[in-house]
């Protein structure tokens, strides 16, 4: 049985012909040819340099290739090889350990700094500048500087400072138990400034009368922070929390430049493992495994991002 044809019995509206200019605008807004022409350069650039390589990476994850001779399709072999690699689980553990340490160190420090700075009456700009300065320093330069500071001999910069108060020497990057912590300390120093600025901006949105009311109620400084500041910042706090997790899952620069993943793979992270698959072997690496692991990580981060959007929506609504 077929549905009877629907007939619109309403009288056709009488529409005066639009002015030419208006029609052009409508065509652009309505997604006509004009829109496509305007979009074309961006679509070409985006498609050529962003989506095409990504699609090619996905294809490559099912191939065995050295990018010189013709590739061969190997089905899910690359995924199996990656999942069977004992280093993968070491890298996952290390990445999670980095994330935990980065949350413990890197999450509260900018918040505390921002709250303290917002309380300061004089030289506010100076403190903001000092807090943001590490962000301005090129990351590679910063890491090389810190590598020098982390010299594990008793005459190293940090060890000399520690030695002056009877501590150390600490092996810093040269021992599996301290290497990751050392990386996180530098990463926190390098990134905290940006987060401090976000918190400072959010803090300006907290109405002063709330603090006055809290003071009248006899709240201490801690009480004001706990009952006024943090609840008012919760949206920003959640965003920085999720962004930090996504960021730490992709940590690469610090282990790559500081330790190369050592000592004994104690700082090999997932992204460094991907890099090693692809580029550490000067004969041309295992590009199939590299793209397979990239794909798996992208899926995990995609799920995390979806959770993040869902959570932030419900937070915004509440």
């Amino acid at each position: 049985m077929t549905a009877p044809p629907t007939v619109d019995r309403r009288p056709a509206p009488v529409v005066p012909p639009p002015a030419p200019v208006k029609r052009r605008v409508r065509r652009v807004r309505g997604g006509g040819l004009g829109t496509v022409v305007f979009l074309l350069p961006m679509l070409v650039v985006f498609g050529l340099f962003s989506w095409a390589p990504i699609v090619q990476s996905v294809v490559m994850s099912f191939q065995e290739t050295n990018l010189v001779t013709a590739p061969t399709f190997v089905g899910l072999d690359n995924f199996r090889a990656v999942l069977a690699d004992p280093l993968l689980w070491t890298a996952v553990r290390n990445t999670l350990w980095f994330a935990v340490l980065a949350l413990l160190l890197g999450y509260p420090i900018p918040l505390v700094a921002a709250v303290l700075m917002s309380e300061v009456r004089r030289f506010k700009g100076l403190y903001s500048t000092l807090a943001y300065l590490p962000v301005v320093i090129p990351p590679v330069v910063a890491v090389l500087l810190w590598k020098f500071f982390y010299d594990a001999s008793p005459t190293g910069v940090f060890n000399t400072l520690l030695g002056s108060v009877g501590l150390g020497p600490v092996p810093w990057l040269q021992d599996a138990s301290t290497a990751m912590v050392s990386l996180v300390i530098e990463a926190t120093w390098a990134a905290a400034g940006g987060t401090v600025i976000i918190y400072l901006a959010a803090l300006t949105g907290v109405p002063p009368e709330l603090y006055e009311a809290a003071e009248i109620d006899g709240a201490s400084v801690w009480g004001k922070v706990w009952h006024v500041t943090i609840p008012r910042l919760r949206g920003v706090l959640l965003i920085t929390f999720i962004l930090q997790i996504v960021g730490t899952a992709q940590v690469f620069l610090e282990p790559f430049l500081f330790t190369g993943g050592g000592p004994a793979n104690s700082t090999t992270t997932i992204l460094l493992l991907i890099y090693n698959y692809a580029f550490a072997n000067s004969l041309g690496g295992d590009y199939g495994s590299a793209t397979a692991l990239s794909l798996m990580l992208a899926v995990v981060l995609g799920v995390l991002s979806a959770v993040y959007f869902r959570l932030t929506r419900s937070w915004s609504a509440s």
């Binding site: 990476s57 001779t69 991907i274």
Partner: protein
Amino acid sequence: MKSIAVLAVATAVLAACSGGGATSADGKTVVNVSLDPGLEQGAIDAFNARVAAFESANPTIDLVPREYKWDATTFTTQLAGGTLPDVFTVPFTDGRGLIERKQIADISGQVAALPYAGKFSKEVAKAGSTDNGKMWAVPIAAHGQALHYNRTLFTQAGLDPDKPPTTWDEIRADAKRIAEKTGQAGFAMMTSGNTGGWIATTLAYAFGGRTEQLDGDHAKSTVDSPEMVKALQAVKAMRWDDNSMGANFLYEWGTINQDFAAGRIGMYVSGGGNYGSLKAQNAMKPEDYGVAALPLTGGANAGVLGGGTLAAVSAKAPEPVKAAAVKWIDFYYLEKLTTKDAAVADAKTTADSGQAVGSPELPVFDKAAFDERMTWIAQYVNVPVKQMTPYTDKMFDQPLVPEPTRSTQQVYALLDPVVQSVLTDRGADIPGLLNGVQTQAQALLDKK
């Protein structure tokens, strides 16, 4: 997601790139040739003069110099992206792997036609040849591993810099003394970027071991040999019993050279011809430098791990470019080893640009040809020759053993964490760690 995207894009974009020579509008064969980056103007002029001379002798070939120097971190991307010059150089380590994977051009036909094709040193030729002896990459320089030492630290420690250690027990004793008397590392070792595996293999060879055994087409990994265990135990004793290995256990080639030249390391193992790099890149003071033969122990099987440089041609080069490329390899890289005028011109240019001439190296051909060339360039030698005699007096007598041939770099990479564990974990179980690597190494060799 940004970093993943960048990596994904980097990997994929490489596939889209293309390279290789071509034919110019006037019908000439265009060949991209390698020129060392960062050269003084004099050296660039000298290179250009060689290019002009070649082009005048071969009017149908147009050479285009392109800056290139082999670097482990960039070579992979250049190779995969097809952005290497048509003629490029690689270390011996990579030769067999590149041939196995067909990532360089088969130039064996053209090489076989060269007048000296059959005169290459047998061991040296292996690095650039297939199992059945076809030469795909041409050896242009060779060296053996050696023990480099800082004469000034030796003196400060009360040791005689003219009598460097000749046994591993002496190395240990001298390292301990240097550490105690000067506060610097008595002995240091590379551990990162596959160099840990490279040096561990060097030590295993010196102790009489090997890391692979070839039986026809089958390769058996022997990275867990008793000799490798013994070598790493010697290192462990220096690190943990004597505390003579300093505080940096993440060295790679560049950083260990840097610290050695800066006087922070008493001794370390690296290629015998390393002085040139130490001088050019790390401002090594000639008076500090000494080099000695690597002590061999463990009987007749003990040997010095060899290394060197190969000239290769891009896999994407068409036939005319391949033929022209081999002509250039012959003209530029090998003529200075085989003819007097080219040898003298090259030595003069190198010396004039402030680079080292006369660093220890091993013959690419036979010893007689090597000695003859050394007499040609004698007046331009500018390295501290006398301080190198503890090595040069013995280097021809030591048995030279080529590097492992299968999955060499990958097995080195597997050994890096083992060496790092030995140096950073007092309780490191050497046989246990090597056993783990053995399984993975065998899997790599079986995969071939």
